[in-house]
Subunit: 109 residues, 2 copies
Amino acid sequence: MGKQITEMLKGTLEGIVLAILSVQPAYGYEITQRLREQGFTDIAEGTVYALLVRIERNGLVEVEKVPSEKGPPRKVYSLNVPGREYLEEFWTTWGFLAERLGQLKEEGK
Amino acid sequence: MGKQITEMLKGTLEGIVLAILSVQPAYGYEITQRLREQGFTDIAEGTVYALLVRIERNGLVEVEKVPSEKGPPRKVYSLNVPGREYLEEFWTTWGFLAERLGQLKEEGK
DNA sequence: TCAACTACTCTGTGTTACTAGCTACTAGTA
DNA sequence: TACTAGTAGCTAGTAACACAGAGTAGTTGA
């Protein structure tokens, strides 16, 4: 897969992470793990942390420091109201794109 | 929609254009028009031309100059064998992503 | 003490779509 | 003639984003 998925993730990875957070709050390391479980095996850790910084700066999440039994304290992220609205928009945009692509794929047969 | 679709198009727009070309050869201006018809109203013309240069450089298309009745000659692009293989890969990658996202969307309800 | 794991941070790089122009050719109109 | 609109292609500069790769910090167990 490689390069293609990298480019496709631009713009969608943000929505994916927000969607994960909409189910329940989580911290960076945990999100990375969950992504890997879901098949996104080659997403770099650094990428997730950078993304979290970005969505925090954009005011889409609340952050809480929680001490960990192992390692340094966790930064637990949870979606706030603007975050949920943004996620809604994301699903709308994604729906549009998925529909177009689905149609194009049919035509190509 | 705006910013979200812009980022989402990164990586997918290339596939979209290749998919259009897989149905039948076309030139830049025509591709832009077709994209607009399909609802991608805010894709800039310049974007399409830049993309065409890129896929030509990457050897995914053949190019033929065809005189036009109106305006300067058209550069008609058609998919070649590597292009078709690349498009196949694109659909695989897209399928993977669409499946993941579909699942995430379900979970979020 | 040192390896292994957890958790987070940072810098630089490459790719990509966008903005905002430009050139060039033709046909129709004032 | 001079202009406008439509067709067709091209370019330079910019912003956003995922990645590679490295580093920091804390805990546990050999």
